[in-house]
Amino acid sequence: MGDKVYMVPNPPTPNVPIRFDAGICNGCNLCVEVCPTHVLMPNPEKKKPPIVLYPDECWYCGSCVEDCPRARAIQLVHPLNQSIVVSWKRKETGEYFRLGMKNPPPPNTRPPAS
């Protein structure tokens, strides 16, 4: 609290398709070159994560994440109107889970088929 409040337009939607972890990203801007729809712009401050300028133009291909040389520097997040329906039921127990739930189960660490 105490931060200044500004007159600003509503945030562009979807709000955060791409999230950077500033502690991992080193601002190499490879993702800026990878993104086909120009969602990302280089940060004017060197070595800082790119700016997500056009979140409304992301097509959720995930290439920025896949091609990033630093694991977990970038996360792709689907808009809530899509991710909210992604749910699953554990067959044995009938337990219910969903993407984005408050207390998620432990990750499944098996990689894709190679």
Binding site: K4, Y6, V8, P11, P12, T13, P14, V16, P17, F20, A22, V34, C35, P36, T37, H38, V39, M41, P42, P44, P49, P50, I51, V52, L53, Y54, P55, D56, E57, C58, W59, Y60, C61, G62, S63, V65, E66, L76, H78, P79, N81, Q82, V85, V86, S87, W88, K89, R90, K91, E92, F97, L99, P104, P105, P107, N108, T109, P112, A113, S114
Partner: protein, 664 residues
């Protein structure tokens, strides 16, 4: 601080545009083969033209490394009829496709695919794409050939479609394009074709473009041009509010720039009246909900109480085992399934096995209770891993968006059943649930494009084409094969073609058009509102049901829009300027669609085309293509038999035409 929204809430000036802005500054490029569009078709065209030893330039609006509809990956490879395990010949496969579409498909493009799909894939393997089960993860699976380690999809008996580890397909193609010394113009949007004497219908001698980062102007002079700019996707549907840049399957860049520039140059187009309904941005995550089709083909579906939904074959017989889902029905030679065919084919001969298509009625009766689930745990291990691990994991937009995100959130296909979306009962008529509930007047173009000959040359000298710029449906392997073929033919032509001469007046007029939106006038609209306005015209006047009068109103409105709102549309930077120019494209494509719709004075279930004033379905005299083009600014329509490619001046068989033209 990573979003623009964060940036404006700080006490520092807004950062300036990160690239130098050089509106109007001219770059002139001379080349032998100019490839417009750097997706799957464009990359294969550039690679194969370059191998002929000519100078090649490729122009791409996004970044070549990952751009295009196939840029994010591919999980299966169709029509590999010449792979060592295939039991289907190129001729049989092509004929099956043509019959399925009642002739409304491009024979040369299909046959080229059937002949070269396997070769194109071997080429990709050389570039670094994994096309075999080299780590023996699927040893013993019914869909694997132990000698070649190839893996097959959909029809394990006939083995014409392969499963591939194509998540890095595009970066591999990109590397090869660079290795061959192709000149890459990244972030350059092609805006028009240049023609001899600046006239419609003459030889194509180059193109213009604009860099969407810097605003620089490009003039390309080329002996031959390959149009590989996919097909229009923002004609009836546009909203970024729900799902950002994927209101349709394609990314925002894909608007049909190739269609608009080919049309303006006087090239001939067919089947532009055909379209299919879409959910208009209310779709679910692609490949990311439980369903039994396409990438998830063969998956067991159960209802809320665990009751299994039965599968059937095309004879209407209920299947008893999982294995049968991947086998043709008794008496059926082979099955065709996968992208580019989904929802499009009408013929029964090659129809695949399917989940109960009476689901809507059974849901209404209470026999099936929603929500349903994709019961992965009940599948044999190899099938489960093939769906979630091989297909989901390599198909475009799955490796990170679905596989990585879901497993990180704890999803385990060995234990968990992924829910299918809960939709109105009728939405389950099609097994492609991720598409959501289709709305009849929210449509997408399906198969309209350039008319081509057996060289994949358009009606204009010097203009070749591959992928979805060509009429007829296609998908990843279709784009790859037609791209490589068009690249070869364009290079052959370029070797003996006369030096191209540009018409400076045509160049200057295009330049003026391009930069008209660079103004800072107050009160004008931006590209998004304009796009949505064009879509409204198409939704209202040229949609599921059409008639002469309404189509003409639509045509008038598009023309008025071009004269008024479009001239005032505002572009704040080169990126927005590119998006405004896309709106020019979208208006032009709308006009092509309406002209094509006016030309067909009959309804057709094959084309999903319904005229209120000509309700009779598929009268035999209208069973033909109606190619349209511009000549001196006037629309000309002619008639063309559906099998024109097997009639004089061509030979009467696919094989003879291919042998005479393929250049191998």
């Amino acid at each position: 601080m990573t979003s623009w929204w964060d940036l404006i809430q700080r006490e520092a000036p807004l950062p300036e545009w990160p690239y130098p802005v050089r509106y109007g500054e001219a770059n002139e490029v001379a080349t032998d083969v100019l490839v417009l569009g750097g997706g799957i078709a464009g990359c294969h065209a550039a690679i194969n033209a370059a191998r002929k030893g000519v100078k090649v330039t490729i122009v791409e609006k996004g970044g070549l490394r990952r751009s295009g509809q196939g840029g994010a990956g591919v999980d299966h490879w169709q029509a590999a009829c010449t792979n060592p395990c295939s039991k289907v010949s190129p001729e049989e496969y092509t004929r099956a496709i043509m019959d399925s579409f009642a002739g409304y498909d491009c024979g040369p493009l299909r046959y080229v695919q059937c002949q070269e799909s396997w070769d194109a894939l071997l080429d990709c393997e050389q570039m670094g794409v994994q096309i075999r089960d080299v780590h023996d993860e699927f040893e013993g699976a019914a869909f694997r050939d132990d000698q070649t380690k190839l893996m097959f999809a959909y029809d394990y008996e006939n083995r014409h479609t392969l499963r591939v580890h194509g998540h890095n397909m595009k970066p591999c193609l990109y590397k090869e394009v660079k290795r061959l010394g192709v000149q890459i113009c990244d972030r350059v949007m092609a805006t028009s074709l240049l023609t001899e004497g600046g006239k419609q219908g003459t030889r194509v001698v180059g193109a213009t473009g604009i860099n969407v980062r810097t605003g620089e102007f490009y003039v390309f002079r080329a002996k031959a041009t390959v149009l590989a700019l996919a097909h229009p996707r923002r004609e009836w549907i546009f909203s970024t509010e729900l799902n950002g840049g994927c209101a349709t399957f394609a990314d925002l860049n894909i608007v049909g720039d190739g269609h608009a520039m080919g049309w303006n140059a006087g090239a001939e187009y067919a089947m532009m009246e055909r379209s299919v309904p879409s959910s208009g941005g209310f779709a679910y995550i692609q490949y990311g909900v439980g369903y039994p089709d396409n990438t998830w083909y063969g998956c067991t579906m159960v209802d809320a109480h665990g009751k299994q939904v039965p599968w059937f074959n095309r004879n209407g017989e209920e299947l008893q085992t999982v294995e049968e889902r991947f086998q043709p029905a008794p008496g059926q030679q082979f099955i065709l399934m996968g992208g580019g065919l989904v929802g499009g084919a009408i013929g029964q001969e090659v129809t695949g096995n399917y989940l109960d298509d009476t689901l809507p009625e059974r849901i209404r009766k209470g026999e099936i209770t929603l929500p349903m689930y994709a019961d992965l745990p009940s599948l044999p291990e190899h099938e489960r891993r093939a769906i979630f691990g091989l297909m989901v994991g390599n198909e475009g937009k799955t490796r990170v968006p679905v596989y990585e995100n879901y497993t990180r959130a704890g999803f385990d296909p060995d234990k968990d059943m992924l829910q299918a979306p809960v939709m109105p009962p009728d939405s389950y008529r099609s097994p492609h649930y991720p598409a959501g509930t289709l709305v009849p007047h929210w449509r997408e173009i399906f198969g309209g494009g350039l008319v081509v000959d057996w060289d994949l040359r358009s009606s204009l000298e010097g203009l070749y084409s591959g992928g979805r710029c060509v009429y007829g449906a296609g998908e990843h392997a279709g784009a790859a094969t037609s791209g490589r073929y068009a690249g070869r033919r364009a290079a052959e032509y370029a070797m003996s073609a006369p030096e191209p001469v540009l018409d400076q007046k045509q160049v200057e007029e295009e330049k003026a058009r391009i930069y008209a939106s660079v103004s800072k006038s107050q009160g004008s609209i931006g590209w998004k509102e304009l796009n949505a306005g064009i879509c409204r015209i198409m939704q209202d006047y040229c949609s599921q049901y059409r008639n002469e009068e309404a189509l003409k109103v639509g045509l008038r409105l598009l023309s008025e829009l071009r004269e008024s709102e479009l001239t005032k549309t505002y572009a704040a930077n080169p990126h927005e300027l590119g998006r405004v120019l896309e709106c020019h494209t979208i208006i032009t494509v709308g006009e092509i669609v309406i002209h094509a719709s006016l030309a067909r004075k009959a309804s057709s279930q094959y084309l999903n085309f319904y005229r209120l004033d000509y309700p009779e379905l598929d009268p035999p005299e209208w069973h033909k293509l109606l190619p349209i083009r511009l000549e001196n600014g006037e629309v000309k329509v002619r008639e063309l038999p559906l099998d024109y490619h097997l009639k004089p001046p061509y030979a009467s068989t696919y094989e003879d035409n291919y042998s005479a033209h393929c250049g191998l």
